[in-house]
Subunit: 176 residues, 2 copies
């Protein structure tokens, strides 16, 4: 299965503006790109906090065949909104979640973060690509892409502009 990480980031590497959850700082062009890009994925993997921050998004409520898997230590809290095969909550590791998606025939998974999920997916050598939208902003403080000390290496696949100030950079993960 192919895993692609999506992140929208300030110029100084913040995935949130200060302590504000979510990506409301992102440009309309990034939102548009993200919505369109997701169509190519048959599954979504996300951590609980990132899910919560985007809970109002139609991404989670749209009734389609995309399997959206939220990782949480308390899936029972979400029993009422669980829709099997569409929106599921699992208390598993990232590798277990990926194995589960793969066993259920999924081939393209969009990994939406946050840092813990990105770090675990990279550490387990499961993340194949990272698509980073770079906004021309600086926040100083905010969530970061990875947790703890890591040493990951990538290869640049493409760089394009989503608007005159917003870049979309696609990287492939290199595993030594």
């Amino acid at each position: 299965m192919r895993l692609v990480g999506f992140a929208v980031m300030s110029l100084d590497g913040c995935l949130t503006r200060h302590q504000d959850p979510g990506t409301s700082f992102a440009s309309p062009e990034d939102h548009r790109f993200f919505r369109a890009a997701l169509h190519a994925f048959d599954s979504v993997l996300v951590g609980r906090k990132t899910y919560e921050a985007s809970r109002a998004s139609p991404l989670w409520s749209r009734p389609d065949a995309r399997l959206r898997c939220v990782l949480t230590s308390t899936p029972e809290d979400y029993a009422e909104i669980t829709r099997a095969g569409e929106l599921e909550f699992h208390n598993t590791t990232v590798p277990e979640a990926v194995a589960n998606l793969e066993a259920r025939g999924r081939e393209n998974c969009a990994v939406l973060g946050g840092a813990r999920v990105f770090t675990d997916a990279c550490s387990a050598n499961l993340l194949d690509e990272l698509w980073v939208t770079l906004e021309p902003l600086a926040f100083g403080q905010g969530e970061r892409m990875f947790e703890g000390r890591v040493d990951f290496r990538f290869a640049l696949s493409s760089a394009e502009t989503l608007s005159k100030d917003t870049l979309l950079l696609k990287y492939r993960r290199l595993v030594a």
Copy 2:
């Protein structure tokens, strides 16, 4: 006077690899670009820690007309290596240092960081441009570009490749 900030950064916004001081993680292409780009600047502004981390660089010892100003609370510690007009150590704020360079006829200043100097220069609306080299690496932990909560906005001037994996992104600061 025109101030241009230079930073080489990992994909996840680290200016150092973990706690290693300096920019030894940067690609040869970035080192080459940086050396060549500096020729266009008649002055350099840098914080003490960033200076210390690059102390072996010929940038500091080369006897030329470039005025290199290191900000430190203890300039007396550097009395022996001070070369007036070439390598000076000052216990001043960033705005005072910039005013001093300007009063001495300097027109183009390269600001090399670290975070405190970048933040102060931006907060005082003195930084005109930010040139960021983006390396295809992730470190999780390291020095960041800015300190504290900030809200700076830029406009993308250009994006080019220094090598197949390393990008050079030039931004202009937008002041509201």
